[in-house]
């Protein structure tokens, strides 16, 4: 009796059995255990199972949650080349949101600009406001970008008109090939500019 009631393993170390329990486990029934027999009691096995399960669960959570943050999330085609359509679909003054590329394609008299919708101020998604007063000479006096976070306002070139943004909206490179408009997207492709210019190189001719 004294033997089976002895405290063993995992949080009750000290009798040397815990070390053996890690290796080949031989379960010894409570009643059959001989005094001094080498082996592991049923209790110790359950103790290991219990704590092991809890640890396993914690490990799974940790891995799932922490590693999950590092796993790249592919959203649409952002990061690749996006085909926006044909040049003929756009009239001067048109601004079209391209969700999968996270940008606006703006048709200006000189050609096309692709404006990344991330505000160069603190990164909010800038909405296109088709009914607001225009800041350029296009769109019959209507249409501009107005950031909802600190009120920066941009025209169809992405030029900063007012508000705290330190530079115009960032550009994605646009290529016109066989009448198709191809835009390279992704944070690494974004072009920062000090000043929005009307014409090349900031505007890709149609």
């Amino acid at each position: 009796m004294a033997d089976t009631q002895r405290k063993q393993g995992l949080f009750h170390p000290g009798d040397g059995l815990a070390a053996e329990a890690v290796g080949g486990v031989r379960v010894v029934g409570e009643g059959t255990g001989q005094p001094g027999a080498r082996g592991v009691s049923r209790r110790l096995v359950f103790r290991w199972l219990g704590w092991g399960t809890i640890l396993g669960l914690l490990a799974q959570w940790t891995l799932g949650i922490v590693l999950g943050f590092f796993w790249p999330k592919k959203v649409g085609a952002f990061g690749g080349i996006v085909n926006v359509g044909s040049v003929a679909d756009f009239q001067v003054g048109d601004v079209r949101v391209v969700r999968e590329g996270k940008f606006y394609l703006s048709r200006v008299p000189e050609g096309f600009v692709a404006l990344w919708w991330k505000c160069p101020h603190l990164g909010c998604t800038v909405p296109w406001k088709p009914d607001d007063k225009s800041e350029d000479s296009m769109g019959n006096g209507k249409g501009r970008f107005n950031c909802p976070c600190h009120g920066s306002i941009y025209d169809r070139y992405g030029q900063i008109i007012t508000g705290p943004a330190p530079r115009p909206m960032d550009l994605f490179p646009v290529e016109v090939k066989d009448g198709k408009i191809l835009v390279s997207t992704g944070p690494s492709k974004a072009v920062q500019r000090a000043q929005a210019l009307h014409g090349p190189p900031h505007v890709t001719p149609a």
Binding site: C147, P148, H150, I160, I161, T162, G163
Partner: protein, 266 residues
């Protein structure tokens, strides 16, 4: 130094000397207190202070419970990176900073101004105002209340004017047209229109205020200046919070609180 300070009436050699003299005088005047007297004068932390603190804690808890009952704070839907709610506002106690962010370069509004206030200007007050008299007394100088009121009024005029100016004229558009008119391209630079000019607009009113106060109230000691500056800071802080909370609507434009465009669109 000490004898030059206008508030200091006696000829003691300095704050430390003054203190020593004051203590010596007090001891001489009162003599050692008897045990009985001491017992009468002593107030123990427990229960006197602890009871008061306990009641304060309970009242606080109660008001929080009542508030959580009355004010609804629902969980919102999943955040959508493709769409920022309009307007996007910080919690109300940060709206003063967000209001500041509307008007200048993010480094200035988000880092330099709050950093300077919290780590330099406020901690500097006791080093600048080293007068020992009336320490811990609110509005301790003869003109203090009048100075505080004047400053509050001054600040409540200047801040709204500057906010209106940036909303309806706009620092950037104004400088852009100035730059194209004069050919001075630096006016259009973010360094100038985002940092230098906002700094001038923020700091410029301070000498004006101090000049006005000097004309009206003589303003001949450091404490009065500190009272004026601190009042200005507090009033500006609350004004910015109020404007950010109740007067900024869609696109972070100025609207009346009753305007439908104050409504947030998700």
């Amino acid at each position: 130094m000490a004898s030059e300070r206008p508030l200091t009436g006696n000829s003691a050699p300095g704050p430390a000397g003054e203190r020593r003299q004051a203590i010596a005088a007090a001891v001489r005047r009162e003599g050692p207190a008897s045990l009985k007297e001491q017992a009468e004068r002593l107030v123990y932390t427990w229960p006197h202070l602890v009871i008061i603190e306990f009641i304060a804690a309970m009242l606080m808890l109660l008001s929080l419970i009542v508030m959580s009952w009355v004010v609804n704070a629902p969980l919102e839907g999943h955040a959508d990176a493709d769409k920022t709610p309009n307007p996007s506002k910080a919690p109300w106690y940060f709206l003063n900073l967000q209001e500041l962010l509307l008007h200048m370069h993010p480094a200035l509004a988000g880092v330099i101004v709050p950093g300077a206030v919290v780590f330099m200007l406020l901690p500097a007050i006791p080093y600048l105002d080293r007068d020992q008299r009336d320490v811990g007394k609110w509005f301790g100088t003869p003109n203090a209340v009048r100075i505080a009121i004047f400053t509050a009024i001054f600040t409540s005029i200047v801040i709204p004017i500057e906010i209106f100016f940036d909303e309806f004229v706009g620092v950037k558009p104004l400088l852009a047209s100035l730059a194209s008119m004069t050919g001075l391209e630096f006016l259009n630079d973010i360094l100038f229109n985002g940092i230098i000019l906002p700094m001038i607009l923020m700091l410029g009113p301070i000498p004006v205020l101090l000049g006005l106060l000097r004309l009206r109230y003589k303003l001949d000691n450091v404490r009065d200046v500190m009272i004026a500056l601190f009042t200005g800071f507090v009033v500006a802080y609350f004004l910015l919070t109020i404007v950010g909370t109740f007067f900024r609507g869609q696109g972070m434009h100025l609207y009346w609180p009753t305007d439908p465009r104050m409504e947030r669109i998700e």
